[in-house]
């Protein structure tokens, strides 16, 4: 007996209503409801290794107005590690000037993605 798993695709704002047919052994037999290849890939990843891009802020020193610097991970980190990542961000302080795209932390939490500055602050 296979079962049908429903997910809303989060890859783009279209929000396709995806359906995956999953076998008893957990194998994905088919995917439907997607309107592009990325939707297919998304539900397959989501059912095996769900990841999210984390966006937050870190403390910023030395800027005229800004006290928070927006940051993001350059790719997905495991969903289960989001709160661990948030704890880690509390320890991070950046000093201006900083340029959008600057890497704040390489290989963030050992997940193979970087933590990147989201804003240029002089």
């Amino acid at each position: 007996m296979s079962k049908l798993v429903k997910k809303t695709c989060i890859v783009c704002p279209m929000g396709c209503h995806l359906e995956a047919e999953v076998s008893e052994s957990g194998e994905i037999l088919s995917v439907s409801g997607n309107t592009c290849k990325r939707g297919d890939a998304y539900i397959r990843d989501e059912l095996t290794d769900p990841r999210r891009t984390l966006t937050s802020t870190v403390r910023l020193m030395g800027a005229k107005d800004d006290v928070c610097l927006p940051v993001k991970t350059s790719g997905g980190i495991p969903k289960a590690k989001l709160f661990e990542a948030m704890e880690y961000l509390k320890t991070v302080t950046v000093t201006a000037p900083v340029t959008r795209g600057d890497v704040i932390c390489e290989n963030f939490l050992g997940e193979g993605v970087d933590l990147v500055a989201g804003k240029t602050v002089s």
């Binding site: 704002p13 999210r52 966006t55 802020t57 800004d66 927006p70 959008r100």
Partner: protein, 428 residues
């Protein structure tokens, strides 16, 4: 201050893109002036630190500050004129802008063309007539977002959110990540006004319950919020007696809709659309006052900034043409037959509201619209004077998603002799 060829009111995504496009079309950088009321360019994007911007424009998912940053960089590189901390107090029908700033003082400046890009504001508790006390701890979602993302303070610890618009959903996740407990999101309507993917990644990811057809009926607490009463609502959207439930919390976040910020437009005498809350415009984004254009959320509330940018490009290009004396449809040389657009059978509004038959209509021209409910498997029908021209099948249509339909050659032909262009839904 000397007269400017183009004054743009608002330095958010709409104003930035309009300025850049006006410059692309040959208006010198110092003939353009962006007036921004905040201390920096970028508008609301500066506090929208979440990802989800730019997929249409740049093919990648960016955060708000990243998206704004790309445009801010161009404005700065090209030395396009801008002034921060500058608040426009009035716009006159003959295109004089009065504003104040700490550095320039009080100024009245003449403009060849004006682009309105003031954005929108959030609906408030007052507008909802929620009874109860008036303690601290009641915030619009955007205000809370500013406190968290710009000022670095968490407004509360135990949060109920009323309204499932995108900002409310985004803030549910944001506050949760920052350590607050979001107890629930209540939505008056039987469906969410936010993007489906935001329900998935902001609520479902964190097991935050969404209560559809629920509202907050009373606020409790003298000094700080101590709790709210939540009730289920019936089909008439009124609370059902006996379904009230007290939820202990210290914060109520409101994400109950956005309203285009059109006080300046209204005082200038610009015709406004009752449904969108923004100006009535034609396909060049020109308002009822020649030489005054509008784009972005001041015109109608968008859910994707990418479409704001595209709309602003059209406004910037048209304003450039207007000041260089080129004929623009409906501009200073009005020649074209003016058609009205309308929405029917589930289509709440259509933008632009006016089209010019002999104007620059092309198959690139799109009519934007929103539906009034959730629909499945419908045709989006474009007709002229009641005659069906095109129909496109859609599997899902939701009020939270702005849709569009492009003109076809057939439609452009029909428009030449038509009076009314209608977008409607039909069973598929």
């Amino acid at each position: 201050m000397d007269a400017k060829k183009i004054i743009i009111i608002g330095g958010g995504p709409a104003g930035l893109a309009a300025a850049i496009e006006a410059n692309n079309q040959g208006i010198a950088p110092d003939d353009i002036l962006i007036l921004e009321r905040d201390r920096e360019l970028g508008g609301i994007l500066n506090q929208c630190i979440h990802a989800g911007f730019g997929l249409h424009m740049f093919g990648e998912e960016m955060t708000g500050p990243e998206y704004a940053g790309r445009f801010i960089d161009i404005v700065k590189e090209r030395n396009i004129g801008y002034l921060c901390n500058a608040m426009v107090l009035s716009v006159s029908p003959d295109r004089e802008v009065a504003f104040v700033s700490p550095t320039e003082g009080f100024c009245r400046v003449k403009a060849g063309a004006i682009i309105l890009a003031m954005g929108c504001r959030e609906r408030t508790r007052g507008a909802l007539n929620i009874a109860g006390t008036r303690p601290a701890g009641i915030y619009s979602a955007g205000t809370a977002q500013r406190y968290v993302n710009i000022d670095g303070y968490l407004p509360g610890k135990k949060v109920v959110i009323l309204g499932s618009g995108d900002i409310g959903l985004i803030m549910a996740r944001r506050l949760t990540l920052e350590g607050a407990k979001v107890l629930r999101v209540c939505e008056l309507m039987p469906y969410s006004g936010g993007l489906p993917r935001n329900i998935a990644q902001c609520l479902d990811d964190f097991d935050i319950p969404l209560y559809l057809s629920h509202t907050v009926t009373e606020i409790h607490g003298r000094e700080r919020v101590e709790g709210v009463t939540v009730a289920k609502v019936g089909d008439d959207r009124r609370p059902i007696v006996g379904t009230e439930e007290y939820i202990e919390c210290d914060t109520l976040l409101l994400s109950v809709g956005l309203l285009p910020e059109n006080e300046l437009s209204r005082e200038a005498g610009i015709a406004l659309d009752r449904i969108t809350g923004g100006a009535v415009v034609d396909e060049t984004m020109q308002t009822s006052i020649p030489g005054v254009f509008a784009c972005g959320n001041v015109l109608h509330v968008h859910d994707l900034v990418d479409f704001v940018t595209k709309e602003a490009y059209r406004a910037g290009a048209a304003a450039a043409k207007f000041v260089t004396g080129e004929t623009v449809p409906g501009g200073n040389i009005r020649t074209g037959t003016v058609l009205s657009t309308e929405g029917k059978n589930g289509v709440r509004y259509v933008m632009p509201q006016k089209l010019h038959a002999d104007g620059a209509l092309s198959t690139e021209t799109a009519l934007f619209f929103r539906v009034d409910n959730i629909y499945r498997d419908k045709y989006v029908v474009l007709s002229v004077d009641g005659r069906e021209i095109t129909k496109t099948k859609k599997r899902f249509l939701e009020p939270g998603q702005m849709e569009n339909v492009r003109l076809t050659d057939g439609a452009i032909d029909a428009i030449k002799t038509g009076k009314t262009v209608t977008v409607s839904l039909a069973d598929a």
